[in-house]
Symmetry: C2
Subunit: 230 residues, 2 copies
DNA sequence: TAGATTGTTAATCGATTAACAATC
DNA sequence: TAGATTGTTAATCGATTAACAATC
């Protein structure tokens, strides 16, 4: 069967469909599961098995992959190593994405350390936090692992020098908007925002909120709901 | 106009509709915006203004609130203090939800500190992390702020004593499933999982994944996508 | 071949948006 | 009254699921 979508993707950028958020997120999870399976020495996997380990339906697995081509064999399933390579290609893990983090508090520090451990080739992310920023003179100039903490007032300059395209905000809510503005001045194209604040950014800048208190509050609501509502 | 949904909610638990995830999440954000507006001394707000500050559409604001009643005045908007009270009631912020956190690494420690600052009455969450757990003898017995670090082997016992209903997992991926099982043994009803792993739990236990590397990887994909695809 | 599993379509489900009568 | 804004409905949009022919 012809791979029409991939063909369009390769030949005609103007009409290439934007892959849905939900699909991209699941692809990341599939790759993780496949990496684990490969460690265990498995060679092939069915959509049903992959789905179970990823916590989704087998129809989702097949449909998600079908956006990019035909990677399976009917009656057999997917070759694990082959599919890993395809997913690494699809997710473009071959190229490093440089990031900076603003706000070297306990959450920021944790993220820097965590990111260091997760980096390729051993880990599963191509994002590298290359610098951190803070406004506390005590912290400026220190290192978190290998990552230097700079003065926030140098932010646009350093971001530009590093050519960082991703900014991570772990400052208090009051400082989040100003931080976002500075990051964009420095040239970042996407922001991962951990502050409980709504950011106002130009439409070409992509924002992803990772609101930890919101997640807790959401679960708390569900608990209260089940408790009271029966 | 009759408030049929609220009536059903109050009188007949069996048919009360489950409010969608997306709605509950937005309600939490609305409340946050309203708290900020109240600080600024504002008295009323329109759905359009609230929507802008929350980063959603005004139709969403009105529709989300309509699930619970009629809180606005046509031609005027919503009374800020009144709506805050309604939302606090709807989100059941009057009762504390006790939580425990497993994995007192840098992320776990950050979350405990963060949670302490965010608690009501000054903050915006009714979740209280009442205990932490780790398997590192160096950490066991120490305090993170006011929160004691226990031995993981005491987990089910302590969770039961505290009557904690929410578990937060910040252990490495390899230990996530075992941690989840222990938490459920201790009686938690919901899990917030920061480990990059899929948890297998009984259907009555609610799991929310907060996968920080996934968020980063997702944005990295979008960046590469824009860069290569034009 | 027979059993298994993919790739794909159509049906279902749910969430968002647009529009406007109701009404302050 | 006139302008503004809600509450609500219908239309749109998109995502998930079920089902099955294709085929290994």
């Amino acid at each position: 069967m012809m791979d029409v979508k991939a063909l369009i993707g390769g030949v005609c950028h103007l009409t290439r469909p934007k892959i849905a958020d939900s699909v991209v997120r699941r692809l990341v999870i599939y790759l993780r599961v496949l990496d684990k399976l490969a460690e265990g020495g498995r060679e092939t996997v069915s959509s049903a098995q992959l789905a179970e380990q990823a916590g989704v339906s087998s129809a989702s697995v097949r449909k998600d992959l079908a956006w990019f081509g035909e990677f399976g064999t009917r009656g057999v399933g997917y070759d694990i190593d082959g599919l890993r390579q395809e997913l690494r290609r699809i997710l473009k893990l071959g190229h490093e994405v440089r990031a900076v983090l603003v706000g070297a508090g306990s959450l920021g520090t944790a993220l820097v350390r965590y990111n260091t451990r997760q980096q390729l080739p051993h880990g599963s992310t191509n994002v590298r936090i290359a610098a951190a920023f803070d406004n506390d003179q005590e912290k400026i100039g220190t290192l978190i692992g290998q990552v230097r903490v700079y003065d926030v007032s140098d932010l646009p300059t350093v971001v530009r020098q590093l050519e960082a395209r991703l900014g991570i905000i772990t400052v208090p809510a009051e400082a989040a908007q100003q931080t976002a503005t500075r990051l964009i001045q420095g040239g970042v194209r996407a922001i991962l925002n951990f502050a409980p604040a709504t950011l106002n950014v130009p439409p070409e800048v992509q924002v992803q909120n990772a609101d930890l208190t919101l997640e807790m509050q959401y679960l708390a609501y569900r608990l209260q709901d089940e408790h009271i509502g029966g």
